[in-house]
């Protein structure tokens, strides 16, 4: 596992192009499809089918929902060059086989190559899981309506941590 991630490094992972203010998806597969479509459109992954297949297989290993309305679908693939993080919100909530049975509202998708220079894949997973353990933060992020507000909420949280 790489070294722990600083808050600055964490905030730098998020990109406006990979922010979905409201997901259109109606189920687990559609959530993954919507994210993969975006990553492909933004040229972050080179083959949609391979990435989707990998993500679905990862869900077969065990749901990537962590409970409390949060899911972090993730995996490594040859078809990307650098670690990417996409965010999507579903105000209504979606069934994602969460351990607590609750619907998921906040989705962070992480795709990484087999190896990255900084080895930030697991630290990124850990940082998101740790950050969003706080109910107050999850509630605030649910209220944001654009990328700028999203980053503001995360920055304030990072500063107060």
């Amino acid at each position: 596992m790489g070294r722990p991630m600083t808050n600055r490094e964490f905030l730098a992972l998020f990109e406006k192009e990979l922010y979905i203010p409201e997901l259109d998806a109606g189920n687990k597969q559609e959530v993954l499809e919507e994210f993969v479509e975006l990553l492909h459109r933004e040229e972050r992954v080179f083959d949609k089918d391979i990435v989707l297949d990998m993500l679905l297989k990862r869900e077969n290993l065990g749901s990537t929902a962590l409970g409390n309305g949060l899911a972090i679908p993730h995996g490594r693939t040859l078809t990307t060059r650098k670690l990417v993080v996409a965010f999507g919100k579903c105000t209504q909530g979606l069934d994602f086989d969460a351990p607590d049975g609750k619907p998921v509202h906040l989705f962070f998708l992480i795709i990484a190559p087999y190896r990255e220079k900084q080895d930030q894949y697991l630290p990124t997973l850990g940082k998101i899981a740790e950050f969003f353990r706080k109910k107050r933060l999850r509630e605030k992020v649910l209220q944001v309506s654009n990328f700028e507000e999203f980053v503001d909420v995360l920055s304030s949280e990072a500063e107060s941590a």
């Binding site: 990998m54 297989k57 078809t79 997973l125």
Partner: protein, 121 residues
């Protein structure tokens, strides 16, 4: 058991990449780092079944080559980026670039023998 249908080199390569992604996932699941982060890791046997199924769909000669390379290297399939094999970092002859880009054949690196995959420059 039926043998896999003859596929295009492009599709052969895509199946190999899927297999390699899956092999890595199975290896990482056994290390259980994700479990320590709070993720449920309970379906390794399901992934192993999926691996068998996927392997059955790959042309046997290519699968054998992949598995031989996997024993030798961490990655059997590697990208070519800016004309360089990202397995051994040797330059791939310019004469081979077009064949790799168009996926008309499955090419291997002349230096290290790894299977080459073009992802765009």
């Amino acid at each position: 058991m039926s043998s896999p249908q003859k596929q295009s080199p492009r599709e052969d390569l895509r199946l190999l990449v899927k297999l390699q992604d899956l092999d890595l996932m199975i290896r990482e699941a056994s290390v259980q780092q994700e479990k320590n982060l709070g993720f449920k890791i309970e379906g390794v046997s399901r992934l192993q079944e999926a691996r068998k199924e996927l392997a059955r769909s790959i042309e046997p000669r290519l699968l054998k080559s992949y598995e031989r390379l996997q024993r030798r290297y961490e990655r059997a399939v590697v990208p070519v980026y800016r004309g360089v094999c990202l397995g051994c970092f040797m330059t791939v002859p310019i004469a081979h670039h077009q064949a790799i880009k168009s996926h008309k054949t499955v090419r291997v690196c002349e230096n290290c023998g790894r299977i080459l995959c073009w992802l765009g420059d």
